[in-house]
């Protein structure tokens, strides 16, 4: 995702000379590489100083720039939450925050570098748009929207992409359909939806039920109507690479509780624990988020 974002940022930077970018010693791995190379005068290496990076980005924005600030999600918004709250959101500064390597990341860096809490940290903030792309098209659309509109925004990126079918159309207003189905539905966010697609395929091969997969890309300012397409399913499984407390399931559950015409909602994510240092695929199993785990959960729900 970072490479695609990097291309979009470069494009936007060519169109808009007001765009500046800042990073905290991680430009190469957080989506700023192309921009930094093309516009050295508009790229600011802030050093290992995430809090100052966000504050300075807010200052640049208040002085007329559109500032893009990138780091690993575990550090920003992880460490920079209060700077995002006060310096960016409160004054509606035109700052775009990139949280890279969300979720398990490479795995091997270990739990300090794994970000399972960023949705909880950002979706609660007034004035902040929260983008959580899964596919290539999502990343491009999110990048275009956030870089062409005014105001605070956060985008969470992972190394892994979810593949998209040819007819896929990303929506930044409601649900985006990744796979048709009529019995059960999986709703999720971020690159982990790739695992949902694989698990659903195996599930359908072994059961009579067809399962749809929906992608939720915008996580702020939700309203009940966007869940209308889910009404005819028997049950919905919410899948996320995030702590279940405070993540996607926490955001959408109130709508399911309030609307009796929506089906039962089950959730699947990280159950209040930290990760560990191991290969990413091993880590998904460790966290009960492997394709096999998703398949088991679907089977359980269908039974």
């Amino acid at each position: 995702m970072m490479e695609i974002f990097s291309e979009e940022l470069l494009n936007a930077g060519q169109q808009n000379p007001n765009i500046v970018a800042l990073s905290a010693d991680v430009r190469g791995s957080t989506g700023l590489k192309l921009f930094a190379e093309a516009f050295p005068d508009r790229y600011f290496e802030m050093g290992i100083c995430e809090q100052n990076m966000i504050g300075a980005a807010a200052g640049m924005a208040l002085a007329g720039k559109k500032a893009v600030a990138s780091s690993y999600a575990c550090f920003s918004p992880g460490r920079t939450w209060e700077q995002i709250r006060n310096a960016v959101c409160m004054d509606k500064a035109d700052v775009k925050i990139i949280g890279a390597h969300i979720g398990v990341g490479s795995g091997r860096n270990g739990p300090t570098h794994q970000s399972f809490e960023d949705i909880a940290l950002t979706a609660c903030l007034p004035h902040l748009s929260v983008y959580s792309p899964a596919t290539k098209q999502d990343v491009r659309l999110c990048a275009k929207e956030m870089l062409n509109t005014f105001g605070p925004a956060y985008i969470r990126l992972s190394a892994e992409l979810c593949p998209e079918p040819a007819e896929y159309r990303c929506s930044l207003k409601g649900l985006s359909l990744l796979k048709h189905g009529k019995d059960f539905a999986v709703i999720g966010t971020g690159g982990i939806l790739r695992k949902a697609l694989k698990a659903v395929k195996i599930f359908e091969e072994n059961s009579p039920f067809q399962t749809a997969v929906f992608n939720m890309v915008r996580l702020d300012s939700l309203n009940g109507e966007i869940f209308d397409p889910l009404k005819h399913f028997k049950a919905v499984l919410c899948l996320e690479e995030h702590q279940t407390n405070g993540g996607l399931a926490s955001l959408i559950a109130p709508f399911f509780a309030a609307d009796k015409t929506l089906p039962p909602l089950y959730r699947m994510g990280i159950d209040l624990r930290f990760g560990a240092s191991m290969d990413a695929e091993d880590l998904y199993s460790f966290l009960n988020l492997s394709e096999q785990n998703i398949l088991s959960r679907l089977t359980e729900i269908a039974a």
Partner: protein, 313 residues
Amino acid sequence: MTARLDWSPFTDHGTLSALDFAQEHEKARLNEIAAKMRFNVMEMMCAADYGHPASCLGLSDLFTALFFGEIMRCNPADPMWEGRDRLVVSNGHISALLYTALSMAGYFPASDLKNHARAGGLPGHPHRDPQRGVELSSGSLGQGVSVAVGMAVALKPLRRDVFLTTSDGEIQEGQVWEALQAAVKYKLSNLKIFLDCNGIQNSGRTADIMPAGDLEKLYTAMGFEVIVCDRACAFEIAQAVQKRKAEDRPLLCLLYTIGGKGVSYMENDPFWHDEIPTGELRQKALTELTAQKQKASSWKTFLTQMKDAPCRQ
């Protein structure tokens, strides 16, 4: 008609010829404003039963220098004028002083100062308010320093300055050090930092709570052009800023102030960091500040009248 005074006692002793008259007059003009500001801000805080008197009184000279000492480009009639310099008040707990100074400079009527930190009034910590000339919301210590650095980066090519106020308590925040490193790295000669060293903070004396060491050596070593203003009046602060030399470095002014300046029982006492006097003490504070205001006013009038004194002709 004011009667022409007899200045002979002064002229006979050569006192007047020893004075740089224009300078003394400017000093008196600013001191009168600073004395008024101290009274006004104390009156505002007393009316609200809210505020931070120690630093508001201690920094009145600085805010007089900024808004009346012709060191900061601003336009009260058009607060968001594009050509303005920016004022970032990172130590946002002095909001009463910021609002008082803005009002005295003509940004908005003094009536707006009512109901401070209450419904309908101006907030207890500054909130971004372009119509009143408030550049950003502040009060979460450390954050304004980074914002000022970002502004200075963006405004340097436009040749506009960023004035930042911070304090010897605020520099305990790690973010401040991050920001100061960036200020030096990007050679922000348009960034002018005023570090209020009054030696007191919320829970007591800064030296006891978290001593920072020799600030002059520290900041010089980091790469700032450091100037020291010890108990300086507004005129002296403005002079010091105008005389700064470096063109490749940010300016850091160590402003040694007297917390609670002007109120005898408050001076240098940490108790008054955020405590508003009541009853007799409140009356005493306002009486003392009134007397100083009148004294400063009389001295300025005296010097103004001396323009026409026979000894100068």
